[in-house]
Structures are given as structure tokens and as C-alpha cells.
């Protein structure tokens, strides 16, 4: 138990060209190369991807749900950022 654990890596997979990489899960590996090999075996056994990113979890800064208010509230009252905010006549086309 006192032995050093292999660090955790987050795995992102692009399912096909034209689409973004998506987070698919995590795994343990001693280094980046091993993380890549393990990601191949754990997350793409059935042709789920054409490209893999691995990043050590400690390098990701995740927002804290307790700060959700200050982070996300300000966007809520800015309805004028949406196209439906503007009153335009019915007969207007292509807009």
C-alpha cells in the first residue's frame, strides 16, 4: 500500500474524422506511452476511435460546483445573445 501507484490519466477519443475528441474515461499508467497503449486496449476494442489523447489527470483544472453561480449565472439574463430575442415581422424570410 505504501508503494507508489501509477498515476491516473484521462482518455479522449475521436470516433471519426470531422468529430471532436470526447472524454471516454480514465486509466492508470506509469507514463504517457503506456497510457496510450492502455487506452487503445481499454477504450477502442471495437473500432470506437481513429485518434486518442491522453493527459495526466493532475493537469486538468476542473471548475468547482460551488462556484457555478459566479461562473454561469451571468449568462442567464443575457437573452439578447439569442436570435429569438428580436421581434421581426412574420413575412421576413431567410433570417
Amino acid at each position: 500500500m505504501n508503494k507508489k501507484e501509477w498515476p491516473i490519466w484521462e482518455v479522449f477519443v475521436r470516433s471519426k474524422n470531422g468529430l471532436e475528441h470526447r472524454h471516454v474515461g480514465s486509466l492508470h499508467a506509469a507514463d504517457a506511452e503506456m497510457a496510450m497503449e492502455n487506452a487503445r486496449d481499454v477504450y477502442t476494442r471495437r473500432s470506437e476511435g481513429v485518434s486518442i489523447w491522453v493527459v495526466e489527470s493532475k493537469h486538468i483544472l476542473a471548475s468547482n460546483p460551488e462556484n457555478s453561480g459566479e461562473l454561469f449565472e451571468p449568462a442567464k439574463d443575457k437573452v439578447y445573445r439569442h436570435p429569438t430575442f428580436y421581434d421581426l415581422p412574420e413575412e421576413l424570410k431567410h433570417m
Binding site: K3, W6, L27, D41
Partner: protein, 310 residues
């Protein structure tokens, strides 16, 4: 505190998911660590009874399928361990709980695989029962667990179909082969029903688990669902389910079935099943014998890092 808990419950009642950094009651966290890790351990220990037959598969077709299935189970264990780790427990702690016997895993894996037909019965019945439970869990409230379940369910369907195909082939074979299939069903039927856990009347976790959407159906409901689905599948095989009390109940719209031997269930849970000791010692041996590999990989990674920094 009170209001935090109320807000948490309201979120669950509204059908929202809980994610790793969200506030959660300590008991929710603990229950999930216990349940997800038990599930992970079951996948890992579940590789052992089937691994027993890989080298003796009757054809290359069967062998590659069984290998792929066992590899999937390793993958499923890893998805689940990762989900448990988001709750603040380390992988090594989880392994330690398994290896010391502190953590439980599904009792079904403490039964031996005596013939090739058992590869069929396990895929058909054990994976079939697992799928019923796991499909429900794709809608569970804890996000990482639900997402792991979605992946697992997608992959698990092949497991059950390859098992049923093995049964079908045996049932269409010689009289001896058909007897092997029947013998296997006889041995795996009752332990499969026990996989859904104790009856609702005595299940200690059910009520709180339903409230927190850790479970969406009770043990008895899931068990009934399994029986209703499986009986017609046995009929197609031409096999007899080893339960003299099994019969269709027109009024209920379900099959009635006989009394489960819960003494046997608790005996196996307590460590006295036919293979409990064998399974745990196999896991401990694998972990201990792999220690030098884990250490060497870390040493190699450290060395590479230090040469890069020069």
C-alpha cells in the same frame, strides 16, 4: 447541512445526475464506493471461471470469442474501478479490500466451471442476469457509474449471445452433449436467481438505494423479469429448468417459481462456497507476482523523465 441534503434529494428527484465534485451525503458516497467496487471486483474475479476453459475451447471460433469476452470483463472492471476512484478512494485501496476478503464480489463466481457447457450457461444465464441489472443501472443517479454502465451494456450483449449459441450447438448435438447442457443449466439456474440478491423483505439496502436512484427496481422485480425472459429461451433449447414449481401464472402475467435456498446463498457470501478460497488466492497470487512489473514500470518512467530533464 439539512438544506444541502434537501437540495441534493431534490436534484435526484428531478432526474438530474450527481457528478464527482458535487456535494453528496457521506452515506451516498460510501454506498457508491461499496456498490461500484463490488461490481468491479465481480468483473475481475469473473474472469477466473471462464479463463479456466480458454485453452480447452473446442474450436478456434469459440476460443477467440471466449478470449474477447474475458478481455471485455477486464475492461469492464477497469471502467468501474475508475468510476469508484472519482469518489475519493484509490485503486490500491480497492484492490486491498478485495485481496484481504473485506470487499465482496458476486457470489456466482464462487461456483466451479466443470464442463465446456458451463461457458454456454454462464454467457446465457449469468451475463443475462447481469444485463438486466446493468440496463437498470444506466439510469442510476451517479454520473460516472451510469456512463460506465452504458459502455458495459453495449459490449455485454455479445457475451450473452455467444453463450446461448454454445448452448444451442450442444442441444443440437449428440445425446451426451445435450446432457452436458442440461447438467450445466441444472447447476447454474439457482445461483443465477440468487445474483439479484436477497428478497425485498430482508434486503437492507433497497429502500435508501431507491430513494437515491442507486437502484430503480427491487431485487424481486429484477429476478421476476429474468425468469420471465429466460423460461422461453430454455424452451427453444429444449432444456428443462430445474424447478418443479415453475409455471405460468395467467392472473399475474408472470411465471411463478420455487423457493430459493437462501441458506446456500448466505453460506457462499460468507466465504464457504465451493471456490471462494481458490478465487481469492488466484487474485492475491496475480497481484503479488505482478508487483515487480508495477515497480519496474515506475522506475522506467522516472528514469526516462530524469534523462529528458538533463
Amino acid at each position: 447541512m439539512q438544506s444541502q441534503e434537501a437540495a441534493f434529494q431534490a436534484k435526484i428527484d428531478a432526474g438530474q445526475n450527481i457528478e464527482p465534485k458535487d456535494w453528496m451525503p457521506e452515506k451516498y458516497r460510501k454506498t457508491h464506493i461499496r456498490q461500484i467496487s463490488q461490481h468491479a471486483h465481480s468483473e475481475i474475479v469473473g474472469m477466473l471461471p471462464e479463463g479456466n476453459w480458454i485453452t480447452r475451447a473446442p474450436s478456434l471460433r469459440r476460443k477467440v470469442a471466449l478470449l474477447a469476452k474475458v478481455q471485455d470483463e477486464a475492461g469492464h472492471g477497469l471502467y468501474l474501478y475508475s468510476a469508484a476512484e472519482t469518489l475519493g478512494i484509490s485503486r490500491d485501496e480497492l484492490f486491498e479490500q478485495l485481496h484481504s476478503g473485506k470487499a465482496k464480489y458476486s457470489s456466482i463466481f464462487n461456483y466451479p466451471t466443470l464442463s465446456w457447457a458451463d461457458m454456454g450457461a454462464i454467457g446465457w444465464l449469468v451475463d443475462g442476469a447481469a444485463i438486466i441489472n446493468q440496463v437498470m443501472l444506466t439510469r442510476t443517479s451517479y454520473g460516472p457509474y451510469a456512463r460506465a454502465m452504458v459502455r458495459i451494456c453495449k459490449e455485454e450483449s455479445f457475451h450473452q449471445r455467444q453463450g446461448y449459441e454454445i448452448m444451442l450447438t450442444l442441444c443440437e448435438g449428440t445425446e451426451v452433449q445435450k446432457q452436458l447442457a442440461q447438467d450445466s443449466l441444472n447447476r447454474w439456474w439457482w445461483p443465477s436467481l440468487m445474483m439479484f440478491g436477497p428478497p425485498d423483505a430482508v434486503s437492507t439496502h433497497t429502500e435508501q438505494s431507491m430513494k437515491w436512484r442507486i437502484k430503480l427496481k427491487s431485487n424481486d422485480e429484477l429476478r421476476q423479469q429474468f425468469v420471465d425472459i429466460t423460461v422461453p429461451q430454455a424452451e427453444i433449447l429444449g432444456l428443462t429448468i430445474p424447478d418443479p414449481d415453475l409455471k405460468w401464472n395467467e392472473e399475474r402475467g408472470h411465471y411463478d417459481f420455487g423457493e430459493i435456498d437462501w441458506d446456500e446463498f448466505w453460506q457462499v457470501v460468507k466465504g464457504n462456497g465451493p471456490c471462494n478460497r481458490e478465487r481469492l488466492s488466484a487474485r492475491n497470487e496475480a497481484w503479488d507476482n505482478g508487483a515487480w512489473v508495477r515497480e519496474a514500470a515506475i522506475a522506467h518512467a522516472d528514469k526516462k523523465k530524469s534523462t529528458q530533464n538533463v
